[in-house]
């Protein structure tokens, strides 16, 4: 289990995350909802060691990784698919994937590469092309594949559907579900709440740096405040 316990993070004097606690479990998708500036991305960055933590703990299967350097967090089994995908545009698709498996052994890397190509045939077709020439959806697949290459037990996803064509959003989120089904714990931040709820197991809602709701999807759908906040007034009339 990836546990985040009473996490506090601040930028200078601005306290962006105030006592957030949540968890991701193997094989399950935990959806994190929240408005812009609620502290979702900050939470993910803090887990990865990209942002220093004021107080609180982050544990991976019982091992404390709070405040560790990013590369050590990755080695502990957590990886992040960053917002906006951020593939290495000038490098080839294969180089991007190999980088994802940077901290694994050479044989593992070769094995996983084949698996990823099996999962995303389009990446296999474009393996020698520059990653920057892929379409948005393809780049998202590459970002997923890159995260899988690290053989992480937990994958954090920051707004995977952002900026993608509506037709692609569905595919991308289904891929996230498939990743979870393969036994990986997925912690997903997603603006598109409706689409997110369709693939999620558990829901956490954050506002102004604090957790407002934790529960399973059914409970979330029953919570009027959540529905009003994230799905709009129309959801209430259903």
């Amino acid at each position: 289990m990836l546990e985040i316990d009473e996490l506090h993070v601040s930028y200078g004097k601005v306290r962006a995350v105030r006592g957030v606690s949540l968890a991701a479990r193997p094989g399950r998708v935990t959806l994190v909802l929240g408005a812009n500036g609620a502290g979702k991305t900050t939470t993910l960055r803090a887990v990865m060691g990209l942002q220093s933590v004021d107080s609180g703990r982050v544990r991976v299967d019982g091992t404390d990784i709070t405040g560790k350097d990013t590369h050590k967090v990755v080695r502990a089994g957590v990886s992040l698919v960053p917002e906006g995908r951020r593939v290495f545009a000038p490098l080839t698709v294969e180089e991007n994937l190999l980088l994802g498996g940077y901290s694994t052994s050479a044989t593992d890397r070769a094995d996983t590469l084949q698996k990823v190509y099996g999962m995303f045939p389009i990446l296999s077709d474009r393996r020698d092309g520059a990653a920057g020439l892929l379409s948005g959806g393809e780049q998202q697949m590459l970002a997923f594949g890159r995260a899988l290459m690290s053989r992480s037990k937990y994958v954090l996803m920051d707004e995977p559907s952002m900026g993608l064509a509506p037709s692609v959003v569905q595919t991308v989120l289904m891929t996230a579900r498939e990743i979870a089904d393969s036994g990986i714990g997925v912690l997903m931040v997603e603006q598109n709440a409706e689409a997110g709820l369709q693939v999620a197991d558990e829901v956490v809602a954050i506002s102004q740096g604090e957790v407002g709701f934790t529960g399973d999807v059914a409970a979330a759908r029953a919570d009027r405040a959540i529905l009003r906040a994230f799905l709009g007034e129309s959801a209430l009339s259903n």
């Binding site: 004097k13 929240g34 408005a35 812009n36 500036g37 609620a38 809602a205 954050i206 506002s207 102004q208 604090e210 407002g212 709701f213 405040a225 959540i226 009003r228 906040a229």
Partner: protein, 316 residues
């Protein structure tokens, strides 16, 4: 006082000239233009003034000789601004350093006109340090005006986020043009005044060392305001002089000083003062913030607050 002044006259002069040289690079930097053309402008200003004085039979007023230098530098700056308009960041810096070095080589190869390697001598004028101080004060006054109010904010926007500035309806290209022209004016003033005070100019005086000096002044003093350039000019001019007590190791200590400044004082000495002031203001604001937050917590669910917050953001 007067004895002290007589003994340190050269350093006093050098302080004001260094201030102007630093401005020729700092002014564009404030608008996000990382250009070292100021050094080329210094050379143009100095050589033009020297040529005007030496070639004319009658005594030339400093206004005419220095003015001619400013004119030449401004014209060259405008042309340069058009040529390099696509370049940004370090690329622009390298391109403009190239221009400065090319100007130096031209001065070397200028034959009779520039005096070649020997440079120009006997540049006689009745310029006094008083006039130099007046020029510096006027420059500082104009710069104060550009650092305050709407204009100041616009300049900050052009530097920090040019795309946002464009969307705010600011003509960024025009500001860049002004940056180059300003660099031309300050650089050529520094060069012209210096050559009249010292009576000599040679290619060695207009080389890469000037780039290094100007940059050091700005980084040590601070790049956001002319006050930083003034602080830097005083330090860079006087510190080596007082380091003489260290005898042989003065250059080593000077190097260490610059390194420490680069690591620990990114905003320059001016930045430290600014930070202290801002910290004070922030503490007050925070106090008000906390009160406001306490009120908010009292009412409504957190989730609903989130919606409110996001709506507020949209409204902006």
């Amino acid at each position: 006082m007067s004895a002290w002044y007589d003994a340190h006259l050269i350093l006093v002069q050098a302080t004001f000239i260094s201030f102007l040289v630093a401005l020729s690079i700092q002014f564009p930097m404030r608008m996000g233009v990382f250009s070292f053309a100021g050094v080329a402008n210094y050379a143009l200003g100095a050589y033009t003034a020297a040529i005007v004085v030496v070639r004319s039979d009658e005594i030339v007023s400093p206004v005419v000789s220095v003015g001619a230098g400013v004119l030449v530098a401004v014209v060259v700056s405008l042309i340069l601004a058009l040529i390099v308009r696509r370049l940004r960041g370090l690329y622009l810096a390298m391109a403009t350093i190239s221009v400065s070095l090319i100007v130096q080589v031209i001065a070397f190869n200028g034959g009779e006109l520039t005096g070649g390697a020997s440079g120009m001598f006997g540049v006689i004028s009745d310029l006094t340090i008083g006039s130099v101080i007046v020029v510096c004060v006027v420059a500082a006054g104009i710069l104060t005006w550009t650092e305050r109010g709407t204009l100041g904010r616009r300049i900050d926007a052009v530097r920090d986020d040019p795309e946002l500035a464009v969307s705010m309806g600011i003509n960024v290209n025009r500001y860049r043009l002004v940056a180059f022209v300003g660099s031309g004016v300050f650089g050529s003033l520094a060069g012209g005044l210096e050559v009249l005070l010292r009576s000599t100019i040679s290619p060695v005086n207009v080389g890469f060392s000037l780039v290094v000096t100007a940059l050091t002044i700005i980084i040590v003093g601070g790049y956001r305001s002319w006050v930083g350039a003034a602080i830097g000019a005083v330090i860079v001019t006087w510190l080596p002089f007082y380091l003489q007590a260290m005898e042989r190791y003065q250059q080593v200590i000077y190097g260490l000083f610059v390194v420490v400044a680069a690591i620990f004082v990114p905003g320059g000495l001016l930045g430290i003062a600014d930070q202290a002031r801002r910290r004070l203001v922030r503490r007050q604001l925070e106090h008000e913030d906390q009160e406001a937050a306490a009120e908010q917590d009292a009412g409504g669910a957190a989730v609903v607050d989130a919606v409110g917050a996001s709506r507020k953001e949209e409204a902006r």
